[in-house]
């Protein structure tokens, strides 16, 4: 469990992964965008607006993946006191919030021409908006305490309480009448997307995922450096005092 709890060991591993994740992300974005914009068909009903899907859906998947991983990290932090878990959650939160915002905005840009509205308060859209506020709430909460131990503990509890929202987002389109259509990819009976549209979608999703890995490593390194700075400052203050 604690093999990677040692920040030095983590940093060494992260230094190896970072350039590969970054390189892979750039390659996947080039291939994904090429397919999404130039080399995929328009939809038989929605025409070229279907291309918004290649941004909207990966952003939506990543918003849920990021939150889920943060909730798992919170559980590891509370139960096993894994020291890197809280660092991960703090580092991932702004990225997750960004993905959620992107999902909401591109959804709006897709909804206006197709549905005829920018926004409705149906179960899917509302629960994703709640996810966005959970990210913002977590970031505000962990920065509201002077004591980092209490800050992280409060943050972890908020993450776990908010985790009930994730299955609600996923199944909202099945459980209730919503304007948003049901799932097309992760569903019983296989995807209902034509392969020519599924490929750009999957490539873009992988591009988003590798982007996340690279940026979360950068942010974790910053969080670790920040913690070191606090310790040094405290040590200096006590040495002088």
């Amino acid at each position: 469990m604690h093999r990677f709890a040692n920040p030095a060991r983590f940093l060494r591993l992260a230094t190896i992964i970072l350039p590969w994740a970054a390189l892979l992300s750039v390659g996947l974005f080039i291939a994904g965008l090429w397919l999404a914009l130039f080399n995929s068909p328009g939809d038989y009903q929605q025409g070229d607006t279907v291309r918004i899907m290649y941004i909207h859906v990966p952003a939506a998947w990543m918003s849920m993946f990021t939150y889920s991983s943060m909730a798992v990290a919170a559980a590891c932090a509370l139960v096993w006191r894994h020291p890197l878990a809280e660092v991960y959650a703090r580092a991932a939160a702004p990225i997750g919030a960004g993905f959620t915002l992107l999902c909401l905005v591109t959804g709006s840009l897709w909804g206006e021409p197709m549905w005829g509205t920018w926004w409705v308060w149906d179960a899917r859209l509302t629960s994703v908006l709640i996810l966005f506020f959970l990210y913002l709430g977590f970031m505000a909460l962990v920065n509201a305490f002077d004591d980092p131990v209490r800050a992280n503990r409060a943050g972890s509890i908020l993450l776990l309480v908010g985790a009930v929202n994730v299955p609600i987002i996923k199944f909202s389109v099945d459980w209730w009448n919503t304007l948003h259509q049901p799932a097309s990819v992760f569903r019983m009976g296989g995807p209902t997307i034509h392969p020519d549209m599924l490929w750009p979608l999957l490539l873009m999703a992988l591009a988003f995922q590798t982007y996340f890995v690279a940026v979360v490593i950068l942010r974790m390194r910053a969080e670790l450096a920040d913690a070191k700075i606090q310790t040094l400052r405290m040590a200096r203050a006590s040495a002088q005092g």
Partner: protein
């Protein structure tokens, strides 16, 4: 501009919606990346300055720069829990103690 290029940019009449989606995605991903890199750089600078100003830490700074993490655990500044000593319950001590 060629006809096919015009057609491509028009996105079947949905150009404002499609292109603003892609533009916003690009903007957001770039801003997040640049902010993360800048945040890391500025903290590394602060850390280097602090360590240079604190002679007792010099040896460890050299270790960190050399990429050898052997001493890293001793520096573990995680969550401030250790720095504050005794604020956590006993089990916290084993979090990094296995090394």
């Amino acid at each position: 501009m060629s006809q096919t290029m015009k057609e491509f940019l028009a996105m079947g009449g949905y150009a404002p919606y499609v292109w603003s989606s892609y533009g916003l995605a690009l903007l957001l991903l770039l801003v997040l990346l640049v902010a993360s890199v800048a945040g890391l750089r500025s903290r590394e600078r602060t850390l280097a300055a602090l360590e240079a100003a604190n002679p007792r830490r010099r040896r460890r700074k050299a270790d960190a720069a050399g990429g050898d993490g052997g001493e890293g655990a001793a520096m573990l500044p995680m969550t401030g829990g250790r720095g504050k000593g005794g604020q956590n319950d006993a089990t916290d001590a084993d979090a990094g103690g296995g090394e």
